[in-house]
Symmetry: C2
Subunit: 291 residues, 2 copies
């Protein structure tokens, strides 16, 4: 089991409230996307879960045990951060040995296999790796850690499209081989939308949503066609975005498509389609007002 419960979590730095009364449960053996704009509070939340910083208010438990200064609970998690916290001067292969001292289930054979697959030179010093290979090194250590909960913070920074594709496939293979709780915090949302089961969306330190991807996407749709008829259709709808090109409009509507909607759309000669996760995210977390 590896379930994280967060209750009324608040974190303040002086007068600045970075996280504001967040409550949510991260269920075991699911793949979560943690989504939010830069500065929304995602990394703060992950640092609190892993007890790298202390909350101002609220509690976090892993399998009902409080995480604060609780080594046994924290050993269940491996957290791949954006920061490099490894000892100075270590080579990639030394980092594997070093990690195994803290994570006894670390799978060195698997780490070596992944190193070959991703083409990383294990005799190179970590600090001398490019942005892309530094991310790859951290990805490999996280995947091989043997922890029950894997947290990735911006894992694909600097990775080319081929390496990103390999990472997503490896992550899914790893999960299928041994189901675990996975939290992916990333800005490259559309690429991972098919991997994620649930998403947690944070906006300005507040929890905006904690939903199955399917249900989130099912709660919105696109309507497109002539500006005039799209205008008629959206008059009484909750419309969160409109794109206009010449006499053509595409509107993003929040709500489920009823039979009545479908009839009206047909009558007006409009078309409907699905919203992409990344586009929905942009609209939900954007500042722009829709007229």
């Amino acid at each position: 089991m590896a379930c994280i419960k967060i209750s009324n979590l608040t974190k303040e730095y002086g007068k600045h409230r970075v996280l504001d009364n967040v409550s949510l449960t991260i269920e075991e053996n699911k793949i979560y996307g943690l989504l939010g704009r830069n500065g929304a509070g995602k990394t703060t939340l992950l640092n609190l879960i892993t007890n790298r910083i202390f909350q101002t208010e609220g509690t976090i438990t892993i399998d009902d045990e409080n995480v604060v200064e609780n080594g046994a609970a924290l050993e269940k998690i491996y957290f791949m951060t954006e920061l490099d916290l490894y000892p100075e001067g270590m080579k990639v292969k030394d980092l594997f040995k070093w990690t195994k001292e803290f994570y006894s289930n670390f799978d060195t054979d698997y780490a070596m296999k992944l190193s070959k697959k991703f083409g990383i030179n294990i005799n190179k010093k970590f600090k001398e790796l490019s942005t892309g290979y530094s991310s790859i090194c951290k990805i490999i250590i996280t995947l091989a850690s043997g922890a029950e909960i894997l947290i990735f913070d911006e894992p694909v920074l600097g990775l080319d499209a081929n390496h990103r594709d390999m990472f997503y496939k490896e992550l899914v293979a790893n999960y299928i081989d041994e189901p675990k709780t996975i939290i992916l915090s990333t800005h490259i949302i559309e690429e991972v939308s098919e991997i994620l089961e649930k998403v947690i969306i944070i906006k300005d330190g507040k929890l905006l949503g904690d939903k199955e991807v399917e249900s989130l996407l099912g709660g919105a749709y696109l309507v497109s066609g002539s500006s005039e008829n799209v205008g008629k259709y959206i008059a009484n709808k909750k419309c969160i975005n409109i794109e206009t090109i010449a006499g053509f409009k595409e509107a993003t509507i929040i709500g489920e498509l009823s039979e009545e909607d479908n009839n009206q759309i047909k009558e007006l000669g409009l078309e409907t389609s699905k919203v992409e996760l990344q586009k929905l995210f942009i609209h939900l977390t954007g500042e722009e007002e829709v007229k």
Copy 2:
């Protein structure tokens, strides 16, 4: 006019050939994607075009003038690099003034307008900006530079999805307002596929392709359906990728769909669809062999 001609360009570092006999013409007033894996030679090519390094062999001209130590030719280009080459300690607003000294057409009003739009604090020192805001600052300076050729090297590094979306929209608006030659080197390919007119693909220092996006995508297609029938169909085709899930296969085929192909696909109960640019890129530049 702003046309770049590259002839038989080679760059070696000792025995390592980073670029190998590349010839291509970058036509004026088009939006190019420069695509390649990490280490393929993209940044080397851009550094050569902007005369930051010297070639081993070959020539580069801008509007028929050789770029080597040619200030007048080089002033036509603004190059947004991954590296930070700005003077130490400068605030964002000071960088605007500093850039105007070298680029007399720099549009300060536009830079200020963009700063507000992207939410960047112009009184902050450049070195103190986060990865995302550092990218935004460089994007703003490039867009406002007034140069005839804008080159962006990994412009969206660290940007959240909302800021990436704003950048793409602003780039298109800028281009429509005043057409210019734009080169975008990026790993986040799928998001820009609709913006690009042409793509240049580099693999291991060699030019792999220089094509209209439409013609590149038109030269490949996906075929999917039962493993057995997909297997039958691809027997005599050039297949560059196969994905298998249970009894289902999806194959990426290089070639154009003929009438005969369409008939065979229909008979076998298969379906065809378009290839995404990023997926095609991954297959074209990948190392994996297809069986």
